[in-house]
Every structure is written in structure tokens, then in C-alpha cells.
């Protein structure tokens, strides 16, 4: 049945997006941690981070389009861009839209990074730490077969790896070797109030 076919594609593309986006987050964390090996140069981490993100966008696009055109869900195109505007599973779908909007902001700013400067780019890039968990929750909340074994296993694996790598990144302290010295020095040269 065509309805079921579209639905399968939506769920499959969603699952693939979840895996790819988890990979993007992990690669981003590895990039900050300056990981490097004999056969793994740093530009490989950066390059993969970008390219996997772009592939994820393709699968997300597929996921969203098939969901919108699926006659069963009665979603309009507006529902894909405006959070909480659908009648179908309003809340959980809305989360997906939010996650997607945040991701769009991240990707667009990355494409024009040279024009907006590093600081602005970095500030918006931090939204990734909001986008990814919201996407995960969206995945757990929508879909009729969410509680199936394979999807739970998939989600648990992605979340597990991301949490481990993120845990290491945030616990292992600043990876910039100048961070401490720079902070200490700054503290010593801030403006003195005149008595």
C-alpha cells in the first residue's frame, strides 16, 4: 500500500538521520578534543563532520517530505517549518521541527562562516547541543513502532556513544593549552577602579 510505503520511508529516513546526526555530534566533539592519529589527520575529523552533516540533511529532507505528502498524516508544509502547528502528534512532531530549525541555523551559518566571523558562528553552533537531544526525544515520541527492539537499540547506542564522548569532552578540561595562562593573565590586567 502506498500509504504504508511512505510511512516506512519516513521512519527509515528518520532513523538514518538519527544515526548520522549522532555521528556529526561525535565528530564535532572529537574535533574540539583535537583527536589525531597516525592515519587520522585532524582535517579528516573536520571534513567528515561537515560531509556527514550534509548527508544527514539529505535524509532529513527525505524524512520530512515523505511525512508531509503522506495522506495518512494530513500534514501541510507549514507543519514542517512551524513547530506545534500540526494536528497529528502536535507535541512530538513540533519537537522535530524545532530540532530541524536549529540544525538549519547551524548549517546556514557554517556555510557563510567567512562573512559572519568566528564568534557569531560559534555561538550559534552551540545550538547543536539543543538540536540533537530534541531530535532524539522527537524520535522516541513519534512513530507507532518506537518501542520496537531495533529502534530502542539504535537510539540507545547513539545516545550512549554521544554521552560518553560528550562526557569526556566536558570533563577533560579545556583542550586549548593556553586557556589557563590566558585567563590568569586577563585577570591581572583588567581595569582598575580609580579611588
Amino acid at each position: 500500500m502506498p500509504d504504508t510505503f511512505l510511512w516506512y520511508v519516513t521512519r527509515a529516513a528518520g532513523a538514518v538521520s538519527l544515526v548520522l546526526l549522532s555521528g556529526v555530534v561525535i565528530l564535532g566533539l572529537l574535533s574540539t578534543m583535537r583527536v589525531q592519529g597516525k592515519a587520522w589527520p585532524r582535517f579528516l575529523t573536520t571534513g567528515l563532520h561537515r560531509n556527514v552533516a550534509l548527508i544527514a540533511v539529505v535524509f532529513l529532507f527525505l524524512h520530512i517530505v515523505t511525512a508531509v505528502v503522506d495522506p495518512f498524516t494530513h500534514l501541510g508544509w507549514g507543519a514542517a517549518l512551524v513547530p506545534f502547528s500540526s494536528y497529528y502528534r502536535t507535541f512530538w512532531l513540533g519537537l522535530g521541527v524545532i530540532a530541524f530549525d536549529l540544525l538549519l541555523a547551524i548549517i546556514v551559518t557554517s556555510l557563510v562562516r567567512n562573512f559572519i566571523g568566528h564568534r557569531t558562528w560559534r555561538a550559534i553552533h552551540w545550538l547543536a547541543y539543543a538540536s540533537w537531544p530534541v531530535a532524539v526525544i522527537h524520535g522516541l515520541g513519534t512513530g507507532t513502532d518506537v518501542w520496537s527492539f531495533w529502534f530502542m537499540l539504535l537510539t540507545a547506542s547513539c545516545v550512549g556513544v554521544v554521552l560518553i564522548v560528550a562526557g569526556y569532552r566536558f570533563m577533560a578540561g579545556p583542550f586549548d593549552p593556553l586557556h589557563t595562562a590566558r585567563t590568569v593573565f586577563r585577570g591581572s590586567v583588567e581595569k582598575r577602579e580609580l579611588p
Binding site: P177, R182, V189, E190, R192
Partner: protein
């Protein structure tokens, strides 16, 4: 005309009335003063010896908005700027007002070391004696007690953002001029020509370490004599402070304290500190001590400066305390060449050139240094 003419230096700051009686009132000088300054050949006394007239022209072309009177004096042994501010504050204020008018700047910031309370009090009192029309252009900012606070870009950064960090490019269109340079301007505007004197801080192995005003035709030997003579036969002179160069005493004694003449010999008066190294002091240990200080004063914004100077300090420290070894000597040469020019400001360059002058002047000592405990620096 001399900067330090007038009442004796120990008698405190010269007041406005006395200053005006001695030198006349502030000359009316506008943009044509820039030409006078160019013709006088006045060079900056902050360390870089940059021609003041050229700096004024560039500042006017850039529409500079603030004049920073640089009295930070972060160089540990230098005392001349403090002395000028605490004994002849009106010379400094005159110079600042003249420069501001010539360059069409309305805002003047007196950048004074945070711990230099006497100098600051004298400048505040002098400001209060001035007519309101002049006084309103000034404000005072405290320079944090770090070596790089005196860097021009750090001074401008403090004025604009409140943190004295050196930057790649100036954060505001500003002109920064050393206190002594402006004091000279105050006299040049009245006489039409250069004063022909410089202020030097005599330090180290002299009987009376002090600030001296000497003619630019004087030699270092003259200056040492004026400071009471050397306490013992000297080995060398550090000319220009910690960013300066070591010179063998034989060559140093004949050098005239004239910025142009020194530049022709590849040397510089720098911030005016003339440090005399007594013969009994070990030049390797002195150099290592100064390198350790300079490494600690890095603003830690650029890797090559922070890590490079630290490594250079550690290697020279090892040679000083544990004796010469070829690996550390090679490292000193290699790292010095690699670090130079790879910081955002001139701090690593100054430190490296200081070290390179030590390696060149004291090559024999660096190659054959015995192990012994590091001595205190002069």
C-alpha cells in the same frame, strides 16, 4: 633648554605658576607644530624610537580620536617617566595639549602605572591647576603593573575596553606617545628646535642608580661617571632595558646616547635604561633571570610567545644552574629564530633579540658555563 631645569628634583612637583614663569605660557600651536616636530628629528622615548613627527602625521591622516600619554613605565628599572610626571607634570601636560591640537584630537588619556601613586598624585594636582578649558580634555587611566601594559596596543585596548591586552590591530584610532617624548615637545614648541638631551635611567653596578638628563653627544662613559662611577670594573652594559642589547664595556663606553647614532650601529636607546653589569656578576645567570621574567610576562595570547619564551627561559636557566650543554645551546638558537615575529605584538621579538644579543656578546660564557646557583639579577 632642559627637561629637568628648574627647581631641584627632590623639592616635589613644579607648580603651574612656577612653570609658566620659567618657560612662558603654552605656545599657540596648531597643525603647523607637526612640521616643527618633524624638522626637530624628535624620536619617541617609549622604546621604539619612532619619529614623532611621522607618527603625528599618520595619526592626523587616520583621524585619531584619542591621545594616550603613555606613562605606564612597565620596564622594571626605568624611572624616567615617573620622575617627569612627579617633578615636571606641567611639561607633560603642555606636550599633551600641544600634540592633541596638532593632531586634532579632543580626548587625552593619562595612562599612569597603577602603583605609581606619587606620579599620579602630581599629575592630578597639576591638572587641577590648569584652566577648565584645558582640563576638560583629560582623564586618567591606571595601567596594570604588567610589562606589556606599556605596549601601545595594550594601552589603547585598556582605554577602549578596560583590559590591557596587546592586540593585532589597534582597537580604536588613537595615537600613543611616551611621557618623555611629550615633555620634549613642550620645549620644542617654545624653542623651535630639539632639546638635544635624553633622559636615561642608570641602573645596576653604578654608585648612584638614578635618572639623568644628558646631552645626546654624551657617551655611556660620561653617564656612568655622572652616576657616581661603576661600583667595580664592569663587564658589559645592557642598553635599552630588557628589550635592549648587551654591549661589551669596551664598545659601550664610547657610544653616544643619541638615538640616530645608536640606530646606525644597530643599537637602540629603547626605554632609556642603561644597566651596568659588574664584572663579578655572571652574564649567563643575569640573562637567564631576565628571560624568566620576560617569559612570565607574556600575555599568553599566542602560542609561540608563551611556550617559546618559556622554553627559552628554561633552557637558559638550565645552562645557568647546571652548566653549558650543546643541546640547550642549539635549542636556544633554533627556538629564538623560530619564535621571532610569530606573536601578535612585539613582546616575543623583544625578548628574543635580547637573548640573541646575549648569545652573541657572551658566546664564550654561554658555551663554557660551569654549574652554579643562579645569582640575583642587578
Amino acid at each position: 633648554m632642559r627637561l629637568l631645569a628648574g627647581r631641584t628634583l627632590s623639592a616635589g612637583p613644579e607648580g603651574f605658576a612656577e612653570h609658566t614663569a620659567r618657560l612662558g605660557s603654552l605656545p599657540h600651536a596648531g597643525r603647523e607644530l607637526t612640521q616643527v616636530v618633524v624638522r626637530s628629528g624628535l624620536t619617541g622615548r617609549g622604546g621604539a624610537s619612532f619619529p614623532a613627527g611621522m607618527k603625528w602625521r599618520a595619526a592626523a591622516a587616520r583621524h585619531a580620536q584619542v591621545l594616550v600619554v603613555n606613562g605606564a613605565e612597565g620596564e622594571p628599572h626605568s624611572k624616567k617617566d615617573r620622575l617627569l610626571m612627579s617633578t615636571r607634570p606641567h611639561l607633560v601636560l603642555d606636550g599633551a595639549l600641544l600634540a592633541a591640537r596638532a593632531v586634532r584630537v579632543k580626548e587625552i588619556v593619562l595612562y599612569i602605572g597603577e602603583h605609581h601613586t606619587i606620579a599620579r598624585a602630581a599629575m592630578e594636582r597639576a591638572l587641577a591647576e590648569r584652566p577648565a578649558a584645558d582640563r576638560k580634555h583629560f582623564r586618567i587611566a591606571a595601567a596594570p603593573a604588567r610589562y606589556v601594559s606599556g605596549d601601545s596596543s595594550a594601552a589603547v585596548h585598556l582605554v577602549t575596553t578596560g583590559i590591557a591586552l596587546p592586540t593585532n590591530a589597534p582597537t580604536a584610532p588613537a595615537i600613543v606617545q611616551n611621557v618623555e617624548t611629550l615633555a620634549h615637545v613642550a620645549l620644542i614648541a617654545r624653542s623651535g628646535e630639539d632639546t638635544g638631551t635624553v633622559l636615561v635611567t642608570m641602573a645596576g653596578g653604578v654608585a648612584r642608580p638614578s635618572v639623568l638628563e644628558v646631552e645626546t653627544t654624551s657617551t655611556i662613559a660620561d653617564a656612568i661617571a655622572l652616576a657616581g662611577g661603576a661600583t667595580e670594573p664592569p663587564r658589559a652594559v645592557l642598553l635599552g632595558g630588557y628589550f635592549g642589547a648587551w654591549v661589551e664595556i669596551g664598545q659601550a663606553q664610547g657610544l653616544t646616547l643619541d638615538p640616530a647614532a645608536l640606530r646606525a650601529q644597530g643599537l637602540s636607546l629603547g626605554c632609556g635604561v642603561v644597566g651596568v653589569l659588574p664584572g663579578s656578576h655572571c652574564p649567563v645567570c643575569e640573562t637567564a633571570g631576565i628571560m624568566r621574567y620576560l617569559a612570565g610576562e607574556s600575555s599568553a595570547q599566542c602560542g609561540p610567545c608563551f611556550f617559546g619564551l618559556r622554553a627559552l627561559a628554561e633552557a637558559s636557566g638550565r645552562i645557568a644552574t647546571q652548566g653549558s650543554n650543546s643541546e640547550d645551546l642549539q635549542r636556544l638558537h633554533r627556538w629564538a629564530a623560530e619564535v621571532k615575529g610569530r606573536g601578535a605584538c612585539k613582546h616575543p621579538d623583544g625578548a628574543v633579540m635580547f637573548l640573541q644579543s646575549a648569545l652573541s656578546t657572551f658566546g664564550r660564557e654561554f658555551a663554557s658555563h660551569p654549574a652554579h646557583r643562579a645569582r640575583r639579577t642587578a
